[in-house]
């Protein structure tokens, strides 16, 4: 598959602060590519530059072979953007919002009406089309927010954390709609800090932290970067420190990494089941009360932890 998006050494600086630090990647036509990283990693700034909102400090990016800095209008015609924050007019109805944004993308007349009807059907809000957006639930607003990005049938859709702050049911609906759009041939760049979403949706994942792309590939390729490891998680009492236990656990030969994250001691090891009894014994010796124990197979969270020493939600 040819690349629809190519990013080469993209940098964005605000004074002395570097928000995006020389990232490079590409997205192939028809795939879902996730940018996975914690809050403040540079995901939104990256999308802002790729969608022509911000001018990069240096580097270059092309969409469909067109420069995002030099051919902005051509690029804007090709892309759709679903921003992280709801970007709608609360005092307009769902239909009025879609009509206005459709007009901004050059739609008019019968084509506009037909497309607005289709999108309302797609986001399941045909029966609420005449209601003002301010009367909608958070999930419904999110759906309208996504609908706006789909109106002109973009070749490449940017979705910036579209599931933040919504209920599980609406989240499920959004993830399903992303998959459906992709099946219809739309290429999607999806940013998230939820590992599960990236795992469920993505053909490939780019892991971003502190403005740098620290890993990129399919899930299998990323998992291989940390080897055949499991994650052993010991949830400890909220008023206890796990630092002493982490220090003790790091002395065990098969432990690759150990950290305290949110009242839990997280251990990456290829022998999770084998060392579990030993770890619990050490916890008892140190007076650390363990509330529960989980073992997770290798996943993107472990990859991120392995690469950065921090959890995605940090």
């Amino acid at each position: 598959m040819p690349s629809i998006l190519e990013v080469i050494n993209l940098v964005k600086k605000y004074g002395d602060f570097t928000a995006v630090d020389g990232i490079s990647f590409d997205i192939r036509e028809g795939e879902i590519f996730s940018l996975l990283g914690p809050n403040g990693a540079g995901k939104t700034t990256t999308i802002s530059m790729l969608s022509t909102l911000f001018v990069p400090t240096s580097g270059e990016a092309t969409i469909g072979g067109h420069s995002v800095t030099k051919e902005t209008m051509t690029v804007r015609d090709m892309i759709g953007v679903v921003p992280q924050e709801l970007a709608l007019y609360d005092d307009l109805t769902a239909r009025e919002n879609l009509v206005f944004w459709g007009q901004m993308y050059g739609l008019s007349g019968k084509a506009l009406k037909t497309r607005v009807d289709e999108v309302l059907e797609q986001i399941g809000l045909t029966d609420r089309a005449k209601n003002r957006v301010k009367t909608f639930s958070g999930g419904m607003k999110r759906r309208v927010n996504i609908g706006v990005g789909l109106l002109h049938k973009p070749r490449l859709l940017f979705m910036d954390e579209p599931t933040v702050g919504i209920d599980p049911q609406s989240r499920r609906a959004i993830l399903d709609s992303v998959k459906a759009l992709n099946q219809q041939g739309m290429t999607v760049l999806y940013t998230t800090h939820y590992m599960e979403e990236a795992e469920e949706l993505s053909d490939r994942v780019g892991i971003i932290d502190h403005g740098k792309m620290i890993a990129i590939g399919t899930q299998a390729e990323l998992n291989r970067q940390v080897g055949e490891t499991d994650t052993l998680i010991l949830h400890i009492d909220e008023n206890q420190s796990g630092e002493a236990l982490v220090y003790a656990v790091r002395q065990i030969r098969s432990v690759l990494k150990a950290h305290v994250i949110d009242h839990a001691v997280v251990i990456i090891t290829p022998e999770a089941e084998e060392i579990m009894v030993l770890v619990i014994t050490k916890a008892n010796e140190l007076g650390v009360k363990i509330r529960s124990v989980d073992i997770q197979e290798s996943n993107l969270e472990a990859v991120f932890l392995s690469l950065t020493g921090r959890a995605l939600r940090d």
């Binding site: 605000y14 802002s48 969608s51 022509t52 909102l53 911000f54 001018v55 209008m73 804007r76 015609d77 892309i79 953007v81 921003p83 924050e85 709801l86 970007a87 709608l88 007019y89 005092d91 307009l92 009025e96 206005f100 944004w101 007009q103 901004m104 993308y105 050059g106 706006v148």
Partner: protein
């Protein structure tokens, strides 16, 4: 161009769906106009227009009966609240008073004025009448209008007296009721008596005679209503400007800027949106006061042109405010302050003609002052040709402020942090 108007229409729709904004845009100026109308007695028929103690300089070079009658008219008890006359002997000194903004007008009664109306042969004259000169300050059109109205009334009475006197004296002579030697005294007595009646007939209600001779009654609400409308127009333009920053915070502005829409289209659309909202506000207030209070705003075409210019000038301030402020809250705070300051400075609450010269010069930075000048002129019977200066000033103001705002937006960027 299409997107420009689509953005503008969307903004107008949103403005008229915002109940709080509607209260300040329409209800507040309407109620304040109504309240001030009640306070000033407009609705009880006992109106006072807030214009008082207009400084006028009189130079009586005539020194005869009619010249003296005119001076007495200005010094009469009936007018002592309205005008503050000072008699000067020297024309140059009188002109200087006007030039130095110490007086709004100088009335020069030239030598021979009485004689030109009533001949020494005991007959009223049919020859050319020596004219009274009015030297006025162009920055105070309302007060000058009042002085001109008083002069028009006086001259009108004199003219009635002259023609009536001639007819009466001729008839008295023909009937033998008076002798030829008595004719001059009788004619003079009739002329002076007729002239003096003008002071008795003058009321605080102002009348202005248009060039066509039509008499237009000046209504106190014709100053109050535009004053309020212009003051709350400043709210509307700052509200409109605030929406740009609100849209930036809400994310709709960035969304617009990643659609195939240029920055110029977004800014232009916003400006047209503010303009149309302000225009709609002014027209609703004008139509409302016309139908509910029977207020005469003047020549409809001239009123429309003036409204367009006033809204344009005010929009310039709205755009500049938006370009300077960083948050919607700042626009609200500064906008509210500006609305009140411009209201005071622009003459909504005070008669600018009574204020010091520096105050009047300062007032010229406000669209309120220019707008009020124009509306007062139109209410006094003026036409489009009489308000060209305020219209030009408002257009220049709007353009200048718009270019400054665009420069500031370009320097700062619409979205870059």
């Amino acid at each position: 161009m299409r997107k420009l108007f689509l953005i503008a229409l969307k903004d107008v729709k949103l403005a008229f769906r915002d109940k709080a904004a509607l209260i300040l845009m329409l209800l507040a100026p309407f109620l304040l106009t109504l309240g001030l109308g009640v306070v000033t007695g407009r609705f009880s028929g006992n109106s006072s227009n807030g214009i008082s103690h207009i400084p006028v300089v009189l130079v009586n070079q005539d020194g005869a009966q009619l010249g003296n009658a005119l001076v007495e008219l200005f010094q009469s008890k009936d007018l002592n609240e309205l005008v503050d006359p000072t008699v000067f002997a020297d024309t140059a000194a009188a002109f200087k008073q006007v030039d130095d903004n110490q007086a709004v007008a100088a009335v020069i009664i030239r030598p021979g004025f009485t004689a030109s109306v009533i001949s020494s042969q005991g007959q009223t004259s049919l020859g050319a009448v020596v004219q009274i000169e009015l030297y006025s300050n162009p920055t105070t059109p309302t007060s000058v209008g009042v002085v001109k109205t008083l002069l028009d009334q006086f001259i009108s009475q004199v003219e009635v007296g002259r023609i009536g006197g001639e007819v009466a004296v001729t008839q008295l002579l023909a009937s033998g009721r008076i002798q030829l030697q008595q004719a001059q005294a009788v004619g003079l007595a009739m002329g002076v008596n007729q002239a003096n009646t003008s002071s008795q007939s003058t009321s605080v209600t102002l009348n202005n005679v248009t060039p066509s001779g039509e008499t237009v009654k000046f209504d106190v609400l014709a100053l109050l209503a535009p004053g309020m409308a212009l003051m709350f127009l400043m709210f509307t333009v700052s509200y409109g400007g605030r929406t740009l920053l609100t849209e930036r915070n809400l994310g709709t502005l960035p969304r617009l800027l990643v659609s195939p829409t240029t920055t110029v289209q977004v800014l232009g659309g916003k400006m047209i949106g503010i303009f149309l909202t302000g225009l709609a506000q002014m027209l609703i207030l004008i139509l409302g006061t016309t139908f509910l209070f029977q207020l005469q705003w003047g020549d409809p075409l001239a009123v429309l042109v003036l409204v367009l210019a006033a809204v344009f000038g005010a929009v310039g301030w709205g755009m500049l405010l938006t370009a300077i402020a960083k948050t919607p809250g700042q626009v609200s705070t500064i906008g509210s302050a500006l609305m009140l300051i411009f209201g005071i400075l622009g003459g909504t609450f005070i008669n600018l003609d009574n204020m010091p010269a520096w105050f009047r010069y300062m007032s010229k930075i406000t669209p309120n002052a220019w707008g009020l000048d124009g509306f007062a002129t139109l209410a006094l019977g003026g036409g489009l040709q009489d308000i060209l200066t305020p219209i030009l000033a408002l257009l220049v103001m709007g353009l200048l402020l718009f270019f400054i705002a665009v420069f500031l937006f370009n320097r700062r960027g619409l979205m870059e942090k």
